[in-house]
């Protein structure tokens, strides 16, 4: 026992010594993570990524000598808990906040605006992009769900035409999570389908807790489906992929595609052979495609005896998301401005083509647009790994071209 106490005291002294190396007042960052709730499977690596980045910055001496302090908790995907934790962390001095789900982010929007806390969430719902209206402090770090759907459909149309087929024969069915998260991209998809002259566009909700989707696939088949796109999380998407292959007898009959929350390593593991050939609209570079920004995460994980592949792309997603926020804090300090919500927001709004080592498309925010980018590359599952299938498709650039 005595020995234990001695070790404990020594450990404490060592820690005091470590933090003593950094000068200055800590900069507090609030965060809520889903570690044990409905989205805990992807929430856990995301949280690890955020924590790893903060620790890495601190190990490099902090920002201008000031250490970062992360105030974070598991909120188990519960909106009321999220609200409590947010209020608690802000009252404890959190200057900026890393959120998670669509429901809790939307529930907090009003409070965020009032408290003037720059907020980056893992929800990419376009309704959060309202910089001059209701959501002045919310920033969307990745391509919105609607843009993801449109980009994936553009890619599908291009491939279809390459094969010499008529766009009017295309029948796109979107299987989606039966919630606002799932329905979010549908209006944009519908609009694009009409503009591009796609023969048919149908949305089918995936009932929660279903053990198979044969009835829904039957419905899609009656519609004459040629392309299936999933807006859901990995597990139901993988089940759907297996059901689709069973129903049609092969991977070739319909083109299968996933938006970001199901296009990941977990989907490939769960769907097995059925994942082969599936397309993914992924704003964050998969671990199987090497980019420069993965180097440090790889080193950190290897020091823990783990690999980035195992930690999944959601690790670098969390890493990249908080990196943008920390960059804004750094730039605010460098400009000699007082570190507060409005100044960090202003700095974020001036961010132009900021690249997080290729972990995602460069980030540009403006006063009127809080979407980091409207661009991503399409990936495809080949022999169980995600490989790049297209160049980056940039909707902003396409819009400017057409004007």
């Amino acid at each position: 026992m005595k020995k234990f106490v001695v070790v404990l005291v020594l450990a404490c002294l060592w820690l005091v010594g470590l933090t003593g190396a950094q000068q200055g007042e800590p900069i507090r960052i609030g965060a809520i993570f889903d570690l044990s709730g409905a989205t805990g499977d992807v929430g856990t690596p995301y949280a690890e990524g955020v924590i790893a980045y903060i620790n890495w910055v601190n190990s490099q001496g902090g920002i201008n000598g000031r250490p970062l302090e992360l105030l974070s908790q598991d909120y188990a995907y519960d909106v009321a808990t999220a609200e409590n934790l947010y209020k608690q962390f802000v009252s404890q001095g959190a200057l900026v906040f890393m959120g998670w789900g669509t429901g809790d982010t939307l529930a907090l929007v009003g409070k965020i605006a009032e408290d003037q806390v720059p907020f980056i969430s893992a929800s990419y719902s376009a309704s959060l992009n309202d910089p001059q209206g209701k959501a002045p402090y919310n920033f969307l770090i990745a391509t919105t769900y609607g843009d993801q759907l449109e980009i994936l459909m553009r890619h599908m149309v291009a491939k279809w035409e390459e094969a010499g087929k008529d766009v009017a024969d295309m029948r796109v069915v979107v299987f989606h999570n039966d919630s606002p998260f799932g329905t979010d991209p549908l209006p944009q998809g519908q609009a694009y389908a009409e503009a591009a002259g796609i023969g048919g566009f149908l949305a089918i909700p995936q009932p929660r807790g279903a053990t198979d989707y044969n009835a829904e696939i039957q419905k899609a088949d009656d519609f004459g489906v040629t392309h299936i796109i999933v807006q859901n999380v990995s597990s139901p998407a993988a089940l759907l992929a297996r059901n689709v292959v069973d129903y049609f007898g092969s991977n070739e009959e319909v083109v299968f595609g996933c938006l970001n929350w199901c296009a990941d390593e977990l989907f490939v593991t769960r769907a097995g052979a059925a994942a082969e050939g599936a397309l993914g609209a992924i704003p964050f570079t998969p671990t199987t495609v090497e980019v420069e920004g993965q180097e440090i995460p790889r080193e950190i994980l290897e020091a823990q005896g783990r690999t980035l592949e195992e930690a999944s792309l959601h690790f670098t997603q969390g890493w990249a998301a908080v990196a943008v926020m920390v960059e804004a804090i750094k730039r605010t300090l460098d400009a000699g401005l007082e570190l507060n919500g409005p100044n960090i927001r202003a700095t974020l709004q001036q961010m132009k083509d900021f690249d997080v080592g290729g972990l995602m498309a460069p980030v540009t925010f403006t006063e009127t647009d809080h979407r980091a980018n409207r661009a991503l590359a399409i990936y495809r599952v080949e022999n169980g790994v995600w490989v790049q299938d297209s160049e980056v498709i940039d909707l902003r650039a396409l819009e400017e071209e057409s004007q």
Binding site: L35, A47, I51, Q73, V79, A80, D104, G110, D130, G133
Partner: protein, 362 residues
């Protein structure tokens, strides 16, 4: 006091008292003093948790009237909370109804909806009724998710959270109920007191006794002249009234509400509250609400302390701690029920009996 071998009432007035003994009155005064002083000694965050407990207590009392006193199982608690919350919110947002009026209207609307879903209770009993109320849960959840205007829109796009305009107590801008926790605390405490007095007295009237008679033996109750259909639906309405009130209070306490607050998990948490607290007891509902709401917060703050003091690593924080916390929560509920199956209320009365009879407990 110590030499008396029981409590003897010599007048009808003394017989009707809610707090007949001196010890009870002293405790009541201490409790009132505690309640009044609490916000001055604890942090805003802790006041916020107490506020959640009081809202949950009102909802749990409502559920206990139905389940504990009338014996009708309901799995639709989350839905009825949602009806109350959205009724209150929609009245405030779309019709600019003053929040106090919206709160009361929400309670009445929920009472009506509850009575509607209580109709099958005439033919259905026990688990069959539970499944029927489960339908209420599904239908209400479905409507909240699917019906776009219910959550309002931004730039013509449906959003999934209804923004709630701020409510001010007595029109005083300093007393903003969704921001000033102390203001909300005193307000919801008054509401809770009114609800408790109303509920306790309900079971001293013929309505309440009819409910208990139905719970104990519905056929016997019917033979005695209790109109089963009328009283069952009434129990649903009264219960839902209080649940709707709790829902409305949730709305006023928040800046926005969304469907995730009113799912089946919430229904089950409320059933856990009244079972852990003590079925068929008003004070039990309050103890149960406190237990279920406060325990996870305590576990969470223990976890946070461990992480901040570097006693556990970030790796443990992410991968192990959440499950340890949830597991502990479950184990504590089971332990609680093994120690005293009749709930915290019985545990508390056992403790009181022990000291009252001490040192000669036999």
């Amino acid at each position: 006091m110590a030499v008396q071998s029981g409590i003897y009432h010599q007048t009808y007035e003394s017989d009707m008292q809610l707090r007949p003994t001196t010890a009870q009155r002293v405790r009541l005064i201490l409790a009132i003093a505690f309640v009044l002083l609490l916000p001055f000694v604890v942090s805003q965050n802790e006041v916020r948790i107490v506020n959640k407990v009081m809202i949950a207590a009102i909802g749990a009392i409502g559920l206990n009237i139905l389940v504990g006193y009338t014996g009708q199982i309901s799995l639709g608690q989350g839905a009825f909370l949602g009806v109350g919350a959205y009724a209150c919110g929609l009245l405030m947002v779309y019709f600019q109804v003053p929040w106090g009026l919206a709160l009361i209207a929400a309670a009445f609307i929920t009472a009506f909806v509850g009575a509607l879903f209580g109709l099958p209770s005439l033919r259905l009993k026990g688990l069959y009724l539970a499944v029927a109320t489960l339908a209420a849960q599904q239908i209400v959840e479905w409507i909240i998710i699917r019906w776009d205007p219910i959550d309002g829109t931004i730039d013509g796009r449906a959003t999934d959270a209804l923004k709630i305009p701020s409510a001010f107590l007595f029109g005083n801008t300093a007393w903003r109920l969704n921001d000033n926790e102390n203001a909300f605390y005193y307000f919801v405490f008054v509401v809770l007191v009114v609800v408790v007095l109303g509920a306790v007295n309900l079971f001293r009237t013929h309505y309440g006794r009819a409910f208990i008679a139905i719970r104990d033996q519905d056929i016997a109750a019917e033979v005695m002249g209790v109109n089963l259909f009328y009283y069952k639906v009434l129990a649903f309405a009264i219960s839902s009234f209080l649940v709707g009130l709790a829902g409305g209070l949730t709305t006023i306490h928040s800046t926005a509400i969304s469907f995730e607050r009113f799912t089946i998990e919430v229904s089950i948490a409320y059933l856990a509250m009244i079972i852990v607290g003590g079925l068929g007891s008003i004070s039990g509902a309050i103890y149960g609400a406190a237990f279920i709401e406060i325990l996870p917060e305590i576990l969470r703050s223990i976890g946070q302390t461990l992480v901040q003091n570097r006693i556990v690593s970030d790796q443990v924080f992410v991968t192990v701690l959440p499950f340890v916390q949830q597991g502990t929560f479950g184990v504590l509920i089971i332990l609680m029920l093994i120690v005293e199956p009749e709930g915290i209320r019985k545990l508390w009365s056992n403790i009181k009996d022990y000291f009252r009879l001490w040192p000669f407990s036999y």
